[in-house]
């Protein structure tokens, strides 16, 4: 067991009486790849929102290593070392692929620090590497708006890789992808394993099997179970709450 990278302690949010996330506690080790599983409305995305600062929590705390980052502003949490990919892919549509990544390569985020030209050889080297890693070499000088859905997802992954945060939160990175695209995505994610601590929300069980080490199952805003793929698939509570419900519908 390595050092703990992310600690979530009794985290919860109360949307005027509706508790979307209710007292979730978990710890994620450095370099670990954790999958968050759960039915629609289980609170997976909300949990990511709480960790990344999009939604302010009403109870509990979040620690990045030893730093309490609970309810910080988003850009401060990002600077502290948490990167996030959204469910609906979001990139800078009017900029080229290369420009997108250059923006992400910027290490000093202040306005005045950036009143200068060029990004430097080191940044350009990283950008070139990432373009290759996510397989967008051909499209490097294309405007992001012209990319296909899958390519847009990979570009957003590329933004995260370039940003190089300690922890990467991925919200359904394979949503809307074909089988081949899903496979390529799992290769990219597997490539990140070990270099970053990764938390993935995912529905696609094929993809989960390709990447998962440990899985945390959420149900109605609470942690239902935690374990490896086999344990989770055998767990009767999980079968009833999540896998089982698939059988009914």
């Amino acid at each position: 067991m390595g050092q703990v990278a992310l600690t979530v302690d009794g985290l919860g949010v109360d949307f005027e009486g509706f508790k979307a996330v209710n007292g979730v506690t978990m710890t994620i080790d450095e370099g670990e790849l954790r999958v968050l599983l759960g039915a629609n409305g289980a609170g997976k995305t909300t949990l990511m929102d709480l960790i990344s600062g999009k939604t302010k929590s009403t109870s509990g705390r979040v620690f990045l290593h030893d730093t309490d980052i609970t309810n910080w502003e988003e850009h401060k949490i990002a600077r502290a070392g948490i990167g996030r990919k959204f469910q609906i892919p979001s990139v800078f549509k009017e900029l080229t692929v290369r420009r997108n990544l250059e923006v992400a390569s910027c290490r000093n985020p202040g306005v005045f620090a950036n009143l200068r030209f060029g990004f430097g050889a080191e940044a350009e080297r990283i950008v070139d590497e990432v373009i290759e890693l996510v397989g967008l070499t051909e499209e490097a000088d294309h405007v992001a708006a012209y990319l296909s859905h899958g390519q847009t997802q990979w570009l957003e992954l590329g933004l995260l890789i370039t940003q190089n945060p300690k922890i990467i939160l991925l919200d359904e990175p394979t949503a809307g992808m074909t089988q081949a695209e899903t496979h390529k995505t799992s290769l990219i994610v597997n490539n990140l394993r070990g270099r970053h601590t990764i938390v993935v929300v995912e529905h696609d069980m094929a993809f989960v099997r390709e990447i998962a080490e440990r899985i945390t199952v959420l149900h109605l805003g609470q942690v239902l179970a935690e374990g490896n793929v086999e344990e989770i698939e055998k767990n009767p509570k999980v079968r009833e709450a999540y896998l089982g419900s698939k059988g009914i519908s």
Binding site: A78, K93, C106, G110
Partner: protein
């Protein structure tokens, strides 16, 4: 910074434009030169609108607020420098309209002739007026920007807030007759002086004052958007949230560029006062602010030079058409028609059209040349 072929062409176009500005006095008489100077001032406003609308994604429908602020600040100084201000029965300058609005029995002095006339005291120094012409718009923009952008107000709501604000300030200016001369504005101004030289609006040096200013603003704005901060600003425009989760303080970027746009507009307001010798509340009319947006739309809001040329072009056309017999009544309809046609058929304006042409030439060249150059960096900035 490496110069791609695309960039080299861009700068060549900028250089050509600047050279044209510089040789214009060779072919124009004093009367037209003065008019041209006014249109160049509008060109500066075009740059400011492109910066805020095209690059920051902030559609400001109250740009006139910054223009008016800049104009009034300098006009106050120039009013005190006017010969008539020294003929009001005091040895210190007092604006003539203050006498007409004087409190009964008040001394004829700036300190106390009307209720708030003391505000004019520091404007006896022309350079105080010049400084305030930049500081006031920037302060207004910082204040407005910090509140609006921190609250994550965006899109049409920003437009509505800026629109309401310019109308509000216009009302206040009109209402404060004893200090602002209300509806009439500030007229009968003295000339702008630098080291003893007087900028008579109808002489060539005054034209050059404006032309050089425009050139500097153009090049400065272009360099600014070529910086990293300029690129990040465009990223913020495209997707605020994405930028935020990459660690950028979105509010700071928006506010900074909003303030730069305000400073440029305030500067334009001051130049306008120098060439037209008046400042009036019409600068803060809604129609004027909207006209500015039309200039940028026709010229191309995501092209700094495009928006600038758009402003100059529309004003030249409207002046020529409105003075042509037979069109005297119809010129507004013609301008309206041009606007509608451009929006329908050239949604990225003239700048977008020029950009596509350059792209095509580059693509054609790289096909025909034996040693193909990369048409790289096909600029993101203009594509939609």
């Amino acid at each position: 910074m490496t110069l791609t072929p695309r960039r080299r062409i861009d700068w060549a176009i900028y250089a050509t434009f600047v050279v044209l500005l510089m040789i214009l006095p060779l072919v124009m008489d004093a009367f037209w030169l003065n008019r041209a100077a006014k249109y160049l001032v509008y060109g500066i406003v075009g740059v400011a609108v492109a910066l805020s609308w095209g690059y920051a994604g902030i559609l400001n429908l109250g740009q006139g607020l910054f223009f008016g602020a800049g104009a009034y600040m300098l006009a106050m100084s120039l009013k005190l420098a006017s010969p008539t201000s020294l003929q009001q029965g005091s040895d210190k300058p007092v604006p003539d309209f203050m006498l007409w609005n004087a409190e009964p029995g008040a001394r004829t002095e700036l300190c106390c002739i009307t209720k708030a006339s003391f505000l004019w005291l520091p404007f006896q120094s022309q350079w105080f007026g010049v400084a305030m012409g930049l500081i006031l718009p920037v302060l207004l923009a910082l204040l407005l920007g910090t509140i609006v952008f921190r609250k994550r107000i965006s899109g049409v709501f920003v437009s509505i807030i800026t629109l309401a604000l310019v109308l509000l300030v216009r009302l206040v200016v009109i209402d404060a007759q004893p200090v602002t001369n209300g509806f009439n504005g500030l007229t009968d101004l003295g000339w702008f002086k630098v080291a003893g030289f007087e900028f008579d609006p109808y002489i060539v040096p005054t034209y050059y004052l404006v032309a050089v200013s425009l050139s500097l603003v153009l090049i400065g704005a272009r360099l600014l958007i070529d910086t990293r901060a300029g690129l990040i600003l465009q990223a913020v425009r495209d997707d605020q949230n994405r930028a935020r989760y990459l660690g950028f303080d979105v509010t700071a970027y928006q506010t900074f560029f909003f303030a730069v746009s305000a400073a440029i507009t305030g500067f334009a307001g001051m130049l306008y006062v120098i060439v037209s010798e008046f400042a009036s509340p019409t600068f803060m009319d809604l129609s004027f602010s909207i006209t500015m947006v039309v200039w940028a739309a026709v010229g191309g809001r995501s092209s700094i030079l495009g928006a600038c040329i758009g402003a100059i072009l529309i004003n030249t056309i409207s002046a020529t058409v409105s003075e042509t017999e037979g069109f005297a009544e119809a010129w507004k309809a013609i301008i309206g028609l041009i606007f509608v046609l451009v929006v329908l058929y050239l949604p990225r304006g003239l700048g977008g059209l020029a950009h596509d042409l350059v792209d095509r030439v580059l693509a054609w060249k790289s096909r025909t040349s034996p040693n193909p150059t990369r048409v790289g960096d096909t600029s993101s900035q203009l594509a939609e």
